[in-house]
């Protein structure tokens, strides 16, 4: 059984009866594929990401991860398979120390203490933040917070990484480090971003969203080279 692909099948979502944010989104990410999700503000990118691990349930359509349809029953397994990194690391980091924060996910998975400790070490090592393990998240710089936020998700050893604006608000060096870090992951990844340069560097494929629908889906180079399309989609 592989959990490494994810299918959004005709996803509709309404925040209120008159406000439909997602209007029939269909897309599939295959094993190991890195896909950029771009679109103007309010296009529905973040809302779609929240569907990836069941934080929002579609009003119509379904999410399939591997061979499992996302339901209440499969939710815990799917949340382990799909790691979601939020846009603002301050929303993600809430424990007193980096180490405790990174161990929060694995601890919720009822793993043994040794296994949790190993995962925390591996995750912090992967993002180059092992030396920050005893620091308080509040004392970290923006770039460090972002790396630790990614570690909190990596520690759960997900098959699929879903990231919301991983390069937003970072200084140029931290942004370069972030891009190199994400490039080094072998995970299937869906990355919502406004950073089109990063999309080009990381993702061979791009999906452009417009008003809750997929406006275009194809090779990044081709889509981002189409200025009429970008203009039409508010990019």
């Amino acid at each position: 059984m592989s959990h490494h692909f994810i299918l959004f099948d005709n996803i509709h979502y309404r925040y209120s009866p008159e406000r439909e944010v997602l209007r029939g989104v269909t897309m599939q990410l295959d094993h190991g594929e890195k896909v950029a999700l771009v679109g103007a503000n309010g296009a529905g990118k973040s809302t779609l990401l929240l569907h990836a691990n069941g934080l929002l349930s579609p009003s119509q359509g379904q999410v399939v991860v591997g061979d499992m349809v996302l339901t209440k029953k499969t939710l815990p397994t799917i949340r382990q398979s799909v790691g979601l990194v939020f846009q603002n690391p301050d929303d993600q980091l809430f424990m007193p120390t980096v180490e405790e924060d990174v161990s929060f996910g694995p601890a919720n998975m009822n793993l043994s203490r040794d296994e949790i400790a190993e995962r925390v070490e591996r995750a912090l090592q992967a993002v180059g933040a092992l030396d920050l393990r005893h620091r308080s998240p509040q004392q970290l710089s923006g770039g460090e917070k972002r790396r630790v936020a990614i570690a909190t998700v990596l520690a759960m050893e997900p098959s699929i990484l879903v990231m919301d604006e991983p390069s937003a608000g970072l200084d140029p060096r931290a942004r370069r480090q972030m891009i190199a870090l994400v490039a080094s992951f072998g995970h299937t990844a869906l990355i919502a971003t406004h950073d089109l340069d990063m999309a080009q560097m990381l993702c061979p494929r791009t999906v452009i969203m417009l008003a809750g629908q997929v406006a275009a889906d194809g090779p990044t180079k081709q889509l981002l080279g189409d200025s009429a399309l970008l203009e039409r989609c508010g990019l």
């Binding site: 939020f86 180490e99 161990s103 998700v153």
Partner: protein, 268 residues
């Protein structure tokens, strides 16, 4: 206001973790001793103010024991005085009979009780502040859980503490945004207060929702997972620590040492 909030946030985050090298005593032992102290101290009859003052030694000794300065604890505990005064002020009007006189000034029973309520409040807050300073808020909640407090309650306590940060951070950004455009106009009209409180409510709820989503994404289902570091084992010295303090505190309550000392001086 934003300076004060910023300082509050820094102080709060310092309270989160245990004081480094704080002690060799199990946190549960300190919780039990603090509980014994509170029960004993609060059970001193309300008019025996002199006996009560003896208990001011407990926070001073505990602070010295772990190398924490007592003065900041004392200063922080003063925040309770207005609330305690509100509770105690009625005693001044109810009990007007004289209790004793100092150099011709008659002290009524009401004033004695008022003083007693203030001292009790101060000492209680100091003991709790010290406990939090020594053990750290989060480890303290974990140890309360190990002492039998329901996991749900311990989780609520931890979350409540996090919510103070969410609230203070949002208030900080709102007051800074206002200050940057209010050109030193300090007074805030009621209409602005209304909109700030409304904004604050909406923003904190939204932020809390995002945090809660991030927690749910990492498998949180309503209960904080058990700590990943192995819990400290209860040792003999913890038993001795609890026994020694309990004996000392209960003896000080039962034997009225201050009263006996005064009597001794009087007979001499």
């Amino acid at each position: 206001m934003s300076d004060g909030l910023q300082r509050l946030l820094v102080r709060l985050s310092a309270l989160e973790r245990a004081t480094p090298n704080h002690s060799t005593i199990d946190p549960r032992a300190r919780i039990v001793v603090t509980l014994v102290y509170l029960i004993v101290m609060l059970s001193v009859p309300i008019t025996r103010l002199s006996e009560l003052l003896l208990y001011a030694l407990f926070p001073i000794i505990c602070a010295a024991d772990v190398g924490i300065r007592y003065r900041p604890i004392l200063q922080q505990s003063l925040v309770i005085v207005p609330f305690a005064a509100l509770i105690g002020v009625f005693n001044i009007f109810y009990h007007r009979e004289a209790a004793f006189a100092i150099g011709g000034v008659i002290i009524t029973r009401g004033w004695l009780e008022f003083g007693s309520i203030i001292v009790r409040a101060l000492l209680s807050v100091q003991a709790l502040l010290l406990l939090v300073r020594i053990e750290g808020y989060n480890p303290l909640c974990r140890n309360l859980q190990r002492l039998g407090v329901p996991a749900m309650l311990a989780t609520q306590l931890i979350m409540l503490y996090r919510y103070i940060f969410v609230l203070a951070e949002q208030l900080l950004s709102l007051t800074r945004a206002r200050a940057s455009r209010s050109f030193n106009r300090r007074a805030m009209p009621v209409s602005e207060w209304g909109s700030i409180v409304g904004q604050l409510t909406v923003r904190t709820i939204e932020r809390a929702e995002r945090i809660s989503l991030a927690m749910a994404a990492r498998g949180f289902e309503g209960r904080m997972p058990a700590p990943t570091t192995p819990p400290r084992r209860w040792l003999w010295r913890d038993t001795i620590y609890v026994a020694m303090w309990s004996i000392a505190l209960i003896a000080s309550r039962v034997l009225y040492p201050v009263e006996r000392l005064v009597q001794l001086f009087e007979t001499l």
